[in-house]
Symmetry: C2
Subunit: 319 residues, 2 copies
């Protein structure tokens, strides 16, 4: 596995404040002379594969992201625990004091990494799933002359109101928990993490997946309770609670029609996107329902193409 | 408004233990000589209309449940705060010591009320929404010669696995909260209730309802946050947390194919139902998706009729 590297921005403005030494973590695969593909992390994703999801599952000689054909850069969202995050930033911006981060901040930081750090002049493609896909949309909206194409899987250009509503439930799981201590916890708040994992878990699959007992994984798991403990509780437990909350806020406020001083007109914003976009919703995704992507593609005037994933895996069909 | 009345069972066996003096709360409307319609409460429902939902919204001269044509009996689920509940039962069965209650227990108690208390020999109809509808299914399965017809709105004969999964999230909201104190709270656990309301709220509507900003109620509500505070937090706050947990467990374990010593064969159980059933799912219900009801009606061999509610109100289309 290639090493995780760190790009130092120095003083960096975020939506909620200034970090004196902001850091973007990244990894590279293949020859820098090849066309560059950027693959940013999603919620729960880490470059070092210690998160819920790794970031090299699509990378390989036999995979879509082939490092003998492309120069692939994976990049960590602020607050994923690898880029600057509540959990790894020194006082006074540590823990609950870490500023709010927008997608726009993330994309500006990634642009600096690519252009100043790696000398990239053009992105062949940005590809992402879920929050990764939302970054792909933001790239296309913010740097129209830099991005040639983007792929957004189980994602959307604007976070919908249902997502904002259930995020309030996930947030309450932390804030109301016995051991969260308003983010000032001294030891890992395991009760808060448990509440959070049980609140978010059911949203990431579909009605049909549960009806077909997908959680039994063809007999490898003995019960739903065991699945919840193994897949959700254990998957989230290594994460820092403040990191997850900042990431959630980034997600909740995602809206490409507000970047670059936009006025909130999403259809207009999508019409202005120059990059070719491949939009891949899953039929049963509760986070990013296909109806929204279908509308988006209609606004993209020939630059957008929709490819529906016909799966009962809901938001998890991305993997 | 007619008075809330109380039927005293004396010593009564529940799935999780024995209550020395179990009580079923009920109200009646109209002339006892008319055909009897039973209308049991759902989750959050109270006979005295002090809950999230009242129990007389379908009752009136100009409504479906016309008290000049029918003798209407509304009846409260165990643990709704009116029938025997953690909140109103004396020690040693109060609070967290209250036994688990199954739907089967509730229906046995209602049968005793109707036959011994009110002298009813036949039910013209049982009608219910959500947990009320699940009671209607149970009535048809448990007392085939007593029930002529039943109507189940936004409901199902068996609680599905997705519901069991998200109920784990709702339960975690209580159990993990600062002030729940394992159910031994001395004052109202407002933090726990807030966490619970934010966890359950988003499930009761649909993607489309949020997309169309249904929560603004045509401009009567100014924001989603205000809606959540007004409709959910305020709606659940008067409830007792232990009551809600016992109710949730009743809901989670609902399955008519296990009553009367059944073997879990739902299709067979539905095939044996004698009563005519009108099954009314909402197209966008996340709790009880229409797919399940469609299968049920197919098993009911001519005794079942499906009427799909074409609404974006999700589980709330029942109201």
């Amino acid at each position: 596995m290639s090493e995780v590297l760190y790009y130092h921005h120095g003083r960096f403005q975020l939506a909620g404040g200034v970090l004196p030494n902001a850091i973007t973590a990244y990894r590279t695969y293949g020859n820098p002379k090849n066309p560059c593909i950027l693959f940013p992390t999603c919620y729960g994703g880490r470059l070092d594969n210690r998160g819920l999801m790794g970031q090299d599952y699509m990378i390989g000689e036999d995979k879509v992201l082939n490092p003998s054909k492309y120069y692939i850069v994976t990049v960590a969202l602020f607050s994923n625990g690898e880029s600057s995050s509540p959990s790894n930033t020194p006082a006074p911006y540590n823990g609950p004091h870490f500023p709010h981060v927008s997608y726009e901040d993330n994309i500006r930081a990634q642009h600096a990494l690519l252009t100043k750090g790696l000398g990239i002049e053009k992105l062949f493609c940005v590809i992402g799933v879920s929050m990764g896909g939302q970054q792909a949309y933001h790239w296309a909206a913010m740097y129209p002359d830099f991005v040639e194409r983007f792929v957004a899987i189980c994602s959307a250009a604007r976070t919908n109101d249902l997502s904002r509503a259930f995020q309030e439930g996930f947030k309450a799981a932390f804030v109301c928990s016995k051991d969260f201590d308003n983010g000032y916890y001294k030891t890992r708040p395991e009760i808060a993490m448990h509440a959070f994992s049980r609140a978010i878990g059911p949203w990431i699959y579909s009605q049909a997946w549960f009806a077909q007992k997908g959680y039994l994984h063809d007999g490898m798991v003995s019960s739903m309770e065991n699945f919840m403990c193994g897949a959700w509780d254990a998957g989230f437990l290594p994460w820092d609670a403040n990191d997850l909350l900042v990431l959630m806020r980034t997600w909740g406020q995602g809206d490409i029609s507000l970047v670059n001083g936009g006025n909130g007109d999403l259809a207009q914003c999508l019409a202005n996107v120059k990059a070719k976009g491949l939009i891949m919703p899953c039929k049963t995704d509760l986070f990013f329902p296909p109806e929204e992507n279908i509308k988006e593609v209609a606004s993209m005037r020939g630059n957008g193409r929709l490819a529906l994933i016909d799966s009962i895996w809901g938001h998890m069909s991305e993997l």
